[in-house]
Amino acid sequence: MKVHDSVIGALLFAFGLWVLATAWSYPEMPGQSIGPGTFPSVLGALFMAGGVLLAITGLRERGMGLVMIDPGWRFPARFAAAILATAGVVAFAMVFETVGFPIGGFVLLTALFILSGYRSPTWIAASAVFVLAVHLTMTRLLYVPLPAGLLKGIL
């Protein structure tokens, strides 16, 4: 997704303003002119200045819409795969302990394979083998406490 530089510039300016306001609300350290807000205020000011410069250079360049989207996003399956790989993973993280990596990971991988056009049973088996192999390697060999979730007691 390409956004026009002038829009990004405006957003950065607003962000810088917010950072500056938040940084100024932090208490100063007693007897010092500097405090926890010093460094963030410098960053806030840099964001504001950078935003203005970017907006100015952006306004000079013409010939691009405000927002340009890669044609790939128009395919529902591709769009769904990207959403699943991002928002879907966040949702998965929320229930990571209860559902567990083996079941959740299997569902996620299978869905992604199907959305990418790999629909044969081979790919369902492949996700199962992959998830199981990763889970067992991590928990048994490397002692990473990946949650077994629904499969607790079985794995």
Binding site: A85, A93, F96
Partner: protein, 503 residues
């Protein structure tokens, strides 16, 4: 000072365990490097969670071997399908492919594999001899010198990238901003945490890293689906060494020159192997007797650029080990790993853990020597590797990313951080903001802030303190020159141009 620790170092390195780790990481690096779009940095980032369960030396060995192999292996798709496996091969991709089309694929990859190894070994030797000396000098450094050094590193990251300076600067600020999330180190005040307890310790580094390098690539694979063209046949891989000795001997000065350039660029904080190969390719063309064949299958340019990108990889470890300031994004990852291992990089580590440091240096040499035999193996299997579609790998890579970002502190908040920063990185890259300065910002944010605040407290808030010590003043001057020179050049160019219009 390094030699008295060599015996102990050999004991740490020459074990079956180490050999197994280096061998499997080499294969992993070769695989990732040969698949276009999977970068060396991404390979290293994905390795980090695994290194938690290793001792320091094997952990570093894993990363060094993977990176060295990936940088070399990215030449394979460059030669066969004209797509560089990583950015480090971008400078000479046309030369490699032109040689392939002329039926000289064996020669092209032969040059690439040997020049890479020679450059890498050269860089490692410089690291071995220069780093301990520099460490002795830097024992006298105070927060003022460290502040300027850090600033110099960040400046180089902004100035030397291929993106616009303004956008690189903004990307750097985003990284510094991410680093300032969490409890403030001096006052203990929570900053920008939005009341979330999981952010009190700051944004976890490993999930951030995995997300910013892997997620954009995955989104592009799922959505944009830019499919690579079919690979050219490779023929007999043993034809690689035919006539190679002659070519390398003819270009021995090139090898020496570009290994030196590569190492120096690697040492400069913020500039890595991709920039090293661009610059030494340009230098090579300038001094060549046949500049017209550059881009059209020049063996000379190939020798130069291949040696430079691998020597930069080793050079980048000099500032990383001595000052804890990363030379590129891979060393940024390594610094993170070293901190987790309790082996805080800096001059003191050369005194307190000299055996480990010597062992790490040996690992560098070994990894670069391994490039030749394993590279041959990879070239033999290249056509098969290139047949694996990226789309099939994407869901599995995502699986690894989830496990990797969860395992750092066994908390699902790491997974959320990975996704959020990954989406941010995708949007940044789509709009021409480079991600590498952001990563450097995340790694160096605390270092810059701590040294700035400490220095300001020491000098009672007076900025003059930053220039009073000789080395600090010298570093400040260097930073100022790097910032001012491009502006002066730009103004002069503009004046000249407007002068031409008026005359």
């Amino acid at each position: 000072m390094i030699f008295q620790h060599l015996g102990a170092a050999f004991e740490l390195v020459l074990t079956w365990n180490m050999f197994l780790i280096m061998f499997s990481c080499a294969l992993f690096g070769l695989f990732v490097g040969s698949v276009p779009g999977l970068s060396a940095t991404m390979a290293t980032a994905m390795l980090v969670p695994l290194t938690f369960f290793m001792d320091p030396v094997p952990a570093i060995a894993a990363i060094v071997t993977t990176a060295a192999m990936a940088i070399f292996a990215s030449d394979i798709p460059a030669a066969l399908i004209r797509i560089p496996g990583t950015a480090a091969s971008a400078a000479y991709v046309s030369d490699l492919n032109a040689l392939t089309r002329a039926g000289k694929v064996g020669r092209a990859l032969g040059i690439s594999v040997t020049a890479s190894a020679i450059g890498g070994i050269f860089g490692s030797l410089v690291l071995i001899f220069a780093a301990p000396e520099l460490a002795l000098v830097s024992l006298n450094f105070t927060s003022f010198e460290y502040f300027w050094l850090a600033l110099l590193g960040l400046t180089a990251a902004v100035m030397l990238g291929s993106a616009s300076i303004l956008k690189s600067l903004i990307a750097l600020c985003i990284g510094l901003m991410i680093a300032s999330v969490g409890m403030d180190t001096t006052s203990g005040l929570p900053r920008f945490t939005f009341g979330l307890t999981s952010l009190l310790d700051g944004v976890a580094f490993v999930p951030a890293l995995i997300g910013m390098f892997a997620i954009p690539e995955l989104i592009r694979t799922f959505v944009h689906r830019d499919l690579p063209p079919p690979a050219a046949p490779i023929g007999n891989p043993f034809s690689l060494f035919r006539g190679l000795g002659g070519v390398l001997w003819r270009h021995k000065t090139n090898l020496a020159r570009s290994s030196t350039i590569g190492t120096i660029i690697g040492i400069l904080p913020g500039a890595g192997s991709d920039i090293a190969s661009w610059i030494s390719y340009a230098v090579s063309k300038k001094f060549s007797k046949k500049p017209e064949v550059y881009g059209d299958g020049s063996e000379e340019g190939l020798v130069d650029a291949c040696a430079a990108n691998n020597s930069a990889l080793s050079g980048a470890y000099v500032p990383a080990m001595v000052f804890g300031i990363p030379g590129d994004s891979i060393t940024a990852i390594v610094i993170g790993v070293l901190y987790i291992k309790g082996l805080n990089p800096g001059p003191m580590v050369f005194l307190t853990s000299a055996d480990t440091i010597a062992a790490i240096f040996l690992v560098f040499l070994l990894a670069n020597i391994l490039i030749v035999p394993l590279g041959l193996l990879a070239i033999g299997f290249a056509a098969q590797i290139l047949r694996v579609p990226k789309l099939v790998l994407a869901p599995m890579i995502l699986g690894f990313c989830i496990v990797g970002s969860y395992s750092i502190d066994a908390s699902a908040s790491g997974v959320v951080i990975m996704v959020v920063l990954g989406v941010l990185a995708y949007l940044m890259e789509e709009n021409g903001f480079p991600v590498a300065p952001t990563i450097l910002g995340i790694v160096m944010g605390l270092l810059v802030e701590r040294n700035l605040v400490t220095s300001l407290i020491k000098s009672d808030g007076s900025p003059l303190g930053f220039f009073e010590r000789p080395i600090a003043a010298g570093l400040a001057l260097t930073v100022a020159i790097i910032w001012i020179v491009p502006v002066v050049l730009w103004v002069r160019r503009r004046k000249k141009r407007s002068g031409e219009t008026f005359v």
